[in-house]
Symmetry: C2
Subunit: 414 residues, 2 copies
């Protein structure tokens, strides 16, 4: 593979000259019709410019937000840590290149103590958050649960009759929320026949195969996902955590039905405006207007940090404290598969958040290619990071990320 | 035609229920794949939500803008005027419904004296401006001319060699700016084989015909437009004004090449940020990243008014006074075709603006379906209006617009 040689430096999108010029030279164009925008190394440019490749809906900020104060600690760049597994010690700075970082902010006690930007990503950039989006959706769901408007023990088809004959229909909303549904759906990005392939075709994020006659939007697609009892589904709802993106799209559907509004408006009214986000965000939508709730939020890195800071501060008066407490209590480590996540021992997934259950109670939101929101309540630290790692799975960047988050926590607490 | 019955009230997009619900009922969905978003009455919803149907680039505001003060004059609603032609007298209020208005602001001496919103359009909405976009591009061009960085007497192909064999190549930049190029291109929206049909296919704003093999972006398309000497072109460059949208896309290309930046960044840096626009704007782009400079700007109505107010105030310290003076001097009425524009006698087109040459020196930006920015320097009045008129051509709304702008000017001056 030609791109094996490209590391975090040599894949720099400015150096590679993507989309520079009017028009860009033919070999520097990133074309959605070729799915370039979803392929490395072009993603180093496209993940900071997704609205140029997809229809979006606006998540409006109030326009009255103020930035976090800066109290920079340049010494943190030289902080050394040992990667997970067999890696040699490296510095925090080196890890940023290693992980194809596009931008990172470290907050300590509400002040930015470390800030770094790479390539085409800057403070105003709205970068795709991928599955970090799920943690926004999960938080909204907890808020509606707290208000008594959504009942986690209710069956999905009692709220969304359209899903009655799908695998979601006879699951409880709580099982969807916890991603313990039993479905015939695989999230294997390397298998074109996996469930995520069908999901992607419905969404239309990349060109559909010639002659495609399947669903052309997520709502229609969700109704087609087979469930417990079908040949590809293992076990029953509620038995174990299996990470499957469409669960989050079902949650978004439930939220929109409860609120009577599209997801981008709910995000704006319940989070973006009251939290004082600095900028609007872009939520990708498909051709019928279904939101890409499983991964289509594009936002500023500092606004991502602000969301984390609100969670750290028990909701900051915007998210009720009891809802934050439920989120922070985490999921069930016993349902977390040690074979799939050997490098994350003792973790759990709950409320659409990842929970380390370490002695700091650290929990986090994560998306493919390195999107991260890490909250360490004991160290009073929040880290937001965008990336465009050449490998989608977090397994590729966790070894040089998770241990340095803890090293930063320890350094800031000492 | 079924929609003949729908007037400004009965076509209200809220009443019609477009895109309400998760998902919207099948008969309430507006699908780009069917080109619904460009057809009445769906446009009453879609023109306020174009980024949900098209890829866009962000035109960033500074985040420090402040709204115009309000000093409302409710009495203006009852102002009576006589429409052009054979119409009976009506009130300003009645004209708003008659013209399928989505929003209107009237500024007098920098204060909002009249403000009205309809349907799904509000102060935060980014509504498509269509050809009002051209006047932003023309203003940028004048700024670069004023800086000596663009020479209106230079041939287009001296700056854009890619256009050498097109009809634009041997025209001067000034002829493109004045839309006096002789091209084989018709702007007839009712003829599927007209030039605007080929333009639209290249842009991809609506689905391309099956088997389409033409250009897939505006840059490539512009190079194919035949010019003087080809069978469809009449006369020679410079002889007469003929309104043809691709001229503006050529100007945008020249601007981007001079600035070394895409148009959305030039708009942000030279106008949006220094003018203190309240919100970001969305600039539609095609699949290669070419901006839809001829008509793809989506912005807030108050930001449109702010642009007009800057022109009224000799550039407001942002656009050099000499550049504004050149814009306000207008084009050549002798080149303006009285057969095409019988209701606009004595007008001209210059610097990508429309000039009435009336005794107030009123000039304006205009886009199909009622998009308007009207500047009356003598009355110290600026009007910005968005609309979704069932008929594209301004001829459909001018009779109930142009005379009331003057009636408002007179009322505010008395």
């Amino acid at each position: 593979m030609a791109d094996v040689q490209l590391d975090g430096v040599t894949s720099d999108p400015v150096a590679m000259g993507w989309m520079v010029g009017a028009p860009p030279p033919l070999d520097k164009r990133i074309l959605a019709a070729r799915a370039d925008h979803m392929r490395f190394p072009m993603i180093r440019w496209s993940y900071s410019n997704m609205r140029s490749f997809a229809a979006t809906a606006n998540v409006a900020a109030s326009g009255t937000g103020t930035p976090f104060p800066r109290n920079l600690r340049p010494d943190l760049a030289a902080l050394r840590f040992t990667p997970l597994g067999a890696g040699e010690d490296m510095t925090f700075e080196q890890s940023l290149i290693r992980n194809y970082t596009d931008g990172i902010l470290v907050l300590h006690r509400g002040e930015v103590v470390f800030e770094r930007w790479f390539g085409v990503t800057g403070p105003l950039t709205r970068h795709i958050a991928f599955s970090v989006t799920k943690s926004f959706v999960g938080t909204l769901l907890e808020m509606l649960v707290g208000e008594g408007r959504i009942d986690l023990s209710a069956r999905v088809d009692s709220v969304i009759p359209e899903l009655a004959s799908s695998g979601f229909g006879n699951a409880t909303i709580g099982q969807v929320h916890a991603m313990t549904t039993a479905l015939d759906y695989s999230e294997d990005y390397t298998d074109p026949n996996s469930g995520v392939g069908a999901y992607s075709n419905a969404l239309g994020l990349t060109p559909r195969p010639a002659g495609y006659t399947g669903p052309n939007n997520l709502w229609d697609y969700l109704a087609t996902v087979p469930g417990a009892g079908s040949k590809g589904a293992v076990g029953n709802h509620g038995e174990r955590f299996v990470y499957r993106t469409p669960n989050t799209d079902v949650l978004a559907w439930i939220i929109s039905r409860a609120e009577g509004k599209p997801l981008h408006q709910v995000l704006s009214q319940r989070l973006w405006q009251p939290l004082g986000m600095l900028g609007d965000a872009d939520l990708m939508v498909d051709e019928a207007g279904s939101p890409f709730a499983g991964g289509g939020l594009n936002l500023r890195l500092e606004d991502l940090a602000r969301f984390g800071e609100a969670l750290r501060l028990d909701g900051a008066g915007v998210i009720p404290e009891a809802d934050v407490a439920r989120i922070r209590s985490g999921g069930y480590p016993a349902r977390f598969d040690p074979v799939t996540y050997p490098h994350l021992p003792g973790w759990s997934y709950g409320s659409q958040w990842w929970h380390s259950h370490d002695n700091h109670g650290a929990f986090n939101a994560r998306g493919i290619h390195g999107q991260t929101l890490w909250i360490d309540p004991v160290a009073e630290m929040v880290i937001s990071r965008f990336g465009s790692h050449r490998i989608a799975s977090s397994i590729a960047n966790d070894p040089h990320s998770v241990p340095v988050w803890r090293a930063l926590a320890d350094a800031l607490s000492s």
